[in-house]
Amino acid sequence: MTQVSFEASFQKKIDEEIMIEPQDYMPDEYRKTLIRQISQHAHSEIVGMLPEANWITRAPSLRRKAVLLAKVQDEGGHGLYLYSAAETLGITRDQMLQQLHTGAAKYSSIFNYPTITWADMGAIGWLVDGAAIMNQVPLCRTSYGPYARAMVRVCKEESFHQRQGYEIMLTLAKGTPVQKQMAQDALNRWWAPALMMFGPLDAVSPNTAKSMEWRIKRFTNDELRQRFIDVTVEQIRILGLDLPDANIKWNEERGHYDSSELNWDEFWNVVKGNGPCNKERLATRVKAWEDGAWVREAASAYAEKRKTKKAA
């Protein structure tokens, strides 16, 4: 087959909703886009452990501590599923970690915001994991097999993450006035950053069209963001908290909630590395990798020893 016919039969498979598997032909750009997207996604799961791990020792009860620990452990698992999926495309784990540690690779900018009170654990589970689920459910049917299969696993595990977060918010919102204020403050701070998790406006998102054509993405950033706003407004009402944006209003004609324009200068600023916690997150991550060097070396030495013993 010629290059042109390879590409035509690739697109035909995509259009017929046939999954692409690691050994199948795929255009270079498709491969590159997937490596970028899946590794960024993996990095987000890994860096995403940091803001929450920060609160494990200070969780207010043994139950909350066990739950938070389990959630953080799940996020580590998600990172591993996704790194493995990316590796099937021909990049190594070490290359990806290097890209993360040198700052060459991006991760979700939401994790560059600080977690200053316990209510932030509620708001993150509810809003951040909630937004992630909204993004990830359509990815269970994305065109690349290993990515889709990883996402099925991830989505199964995510649902408790959101529910435990909402439960924290509910407890605070029904608590003392000070606790309720804490919940409100967390909602106010996390609302806009959570909406930014869906990425830039469609109008300035150059990769969207191609990603939709390749069925890597199935909905645009704006579609998913709107869907998230619509379901979350109802959830805020159930908590009995005030809406975090005075411009949230039901639009009869559109059948959706209207809301304020987001501060995209802030978004790009955080993406470029100037958010409140970018440097701290990266430094923590690099330190964890470097402090773990002796463990990796010891495990390799032990494996080598066992191998020679067996051979003897």
């Binding site: 591993l80 290097q98 690099v286 495990a299 390799s300 032990y302 066992r306």
Partner: protein, 97 residues
């Protein structure tokens, strides 16, 4: 910071979800040796009691059919519909067959 040649090998993980079922491919992971691969597989793939047994195989030992030759390779089975029970015309009153 990273050390390309010291990356642990990749292992494919197969999990039996309950007694009586086949081991099914669950995913892959890196580990220094088989024992560590099994322990890591437990933590990565069975946090919610998804398994009662784990197999690990170093990925380099897996041999696969060639996807570019898949059409020709699987072709011999295509025109043998008489291998299926529905190929045979039998009277409706015939039961339990």
């Amino acid at each position: 910071m990273s050390n390309e040649n010291k990356e642990w090998p990749l292992w494919e993980v197969f999990i039996r979800s309950k007694a009586g079922l086949d081991h099914k491919h669950a995913g892959s992971l890196h580990a220094a040796d088989a024992q560590m691969a099994i322990e890591n597989a437990r933590d990565v793939y069975t946090r919610r009691m998804e398994g009662v047994s784990i197999w690990v195989v170093e990925s380099k030992h897996i041999h696969a059919s060639n996807p570019e030759e898949a059409a020709a390779f699987f072709d011999p089975a295509q025109d043998k519909i008489y291998r299926h029970p529905t190929f045979y015309n039998l009277p409706d009153e015939l039961k339990h067959m």
